[in-house]
Structures are given as C-alpha cells and as structure tokens.
Symmetry: C2
Subunit: 162 residues, 2 copies
C-alpha cells in the first residue's frame, strides 16, 4: 500500500545524513527552555502535573511536530505532483495512559492511541490524491516514527474541492 516508486524522481544511492540539534535548560519547576538554532521553545506542564503552564507540554510538542511534519510533506509532494493546494488543516489527538509516566503500572508511557485528521482543499483528482496520501504515508518522519513505535495511527483525509 505504501510502495510508491514514482518514476519522475531520481533515486539516490548515497546517504544524505544530516544531524539536528537542540539543547534544553531547566528553568525551575517543570519548565524547560529549549534552543533550536535561533528559536527558543518553552516547554512546561499544567498545574495538575506540577508545572506553571509556561509553555505547551512535551506531548503537545510531539503532536505539534506531527501537524507540522504532515503539512510540510503534503506541500512538498503536492509540488512534485503538480497538485494545487488551497488549504491544509490537521488535527492530532494522542491518548496516554498516565500510569506509565507516573510509574504506577507497567504500561507504555507513550501513546495508546493516536489519530490524525487532514482536511485538504485542492482541485486534485482521485488518482493524484491517492498518490499524495501514499507518499505522505511513506515520507513523513513523524508519522513513521509513531508507526514504527507500534502505535498504529488512524489517519483520515477530508478533501474539500477548491
């Protein structure tokens, strides 16, 4: 289903390794300020978990990463395929069993379930959309990280005619 050998793209036998860096400094409480190149990202927890809500939580950050990643890959693939995109909206939802983080039961601390809903405004036809979806499925780093971790994401696409 995700096998998509598209003839228009060059195959590349040479690894293209690139390393990305972030560094975090604890700000007290549960608040971390992270530097990613010129960007400062504040990560915290709400008071219920013991934080001061100075930023989104680590779980919200990884879900946000999925929103951003899918959008980047849709736009990148759409350009390759000559698909016109008028809008992209994504909704991610991830369910944890908090006992994993709390250490009160022997369960995974990460996602029990994950859903992603993509609303795409486009003039593309069914065949192009099918190719687009397959490419996103194969090429999105975050979606594949989550899949490879054994969390089968439920992805639904809603197509709105532009």
């Amino acid at each position: 289903m995700t096998t998509t050998t598209t003839s228009h793209r060059t195959r590349d036998d040479r690894p293209r390794l690139e390393t990305f860096h972030t560094s975090g400094v604890w700000q007290g409480g549960l608040h971390t300020r992270v530097a990613a190149r010129q960007f400062a990202l504040d990560i915290d927890e709400p008071p219920a978990i013991g934080g001061a809500d100075e930023g989104a939580t680590p779980i919200e950050y990884v879900l946000a990463s999925l929103n951003g990643c899918v959008t980047v890959v849709i736009q990148t693939v759409a350009k390759e395929l000559g698909i016109r995109v008028g809008g992209i909206e994504t909704k991610a939802a991830g369910t944890l069993d908090l006992r994993g983080f709390l250490g009160t039961a022997d369960v995974s601390p990460h996602f029990q379930e994950l859903t992603l809903s993509v609303t795409l405004t486009t003039t593309a036809g069914e065949q192009e959309l099918s190719e687009l979806r397959a490419q996103v499925d194969t090429r999105c780093p975050l979606l594949n990280l989550i899949k490879d971790a054994g969390v089968e994401p439920r992805v639904t696409w809603h197509v709105v005619s532009a």
Copy 2:
C-alpha cells in the same frame, strides 16, 4: 535493566487515559501554526528545504519535546526520591537520512541515530542516581517512543556535585 519496582509508590490497576489535542493550519510555504490549548507554535523549514524559517522544524520540535520530557521526568522522580536537583541541562541530536523525506531511496524518514546528553547538578549519591536514571528510562514518554521505534538512543549522564 529498566525493571524498577519501587515499593514507595502505589500501584494502580485502573487505566488513567488522557487525550491531548493539537491543531495545525497551513500558513503558506511550509509554515504551519499549531494551537495546543492557549499556546501557538510556529513550525517551518529553512530556505534550503523550501521554507521561510518562521519557526523551528518538525524534527527540532520532536527533539525539543525530548529535552522537555526528560527534564519533567527527572524533576518528578527526583521529588519522589527526595533528591535535590540544582540544575538540568540536556542536549539532543538526531541524525536523519534525508533521502527518506525526499523520497529518493527506500530508507526510514526518521532517525538513523539519536543521542541525548544529560548534565545533572545534584548532591545525590550513586545509588539514588542509579534509581533516578532507571526511572527516567522507564517513564519518559518521548524516550520510550523513540526506543520503541527501533532507534536505540545513546544516553549519557554527566553528574556535577551541587
């Protein structure tokens, strides 16, 4: 190695499921604005990938999430164990083979390698530190998501006496 049954914490047989939500809206180019509760997160790519650098990249977001997550878990476990923490610094580095994202070779689009360096300033002794490290290993959602995806993170701890 990660089996740590600590007698001081209550076991809980009832799942504590909680669902977290984010939603993203494409802003043009490769830029997504994500809402996570009251927080707005801008995600983009640098010009080399076709973006306008209006925010950190999805990969930087997931690495930042790891920085924040490890810090939250260290602080949470340290409180449980009565360990005094004077400082936490974390450095994350993830290496991708960009051919996965570019779709030019049949390789994973996510991490080929991932390293995490933790510098902890504390007065804790070796036995407490060993317990702390084991608990972080078991309870950190992001570290376990990455491990379960088959990317064995290389985690190094540096302890500085407070």
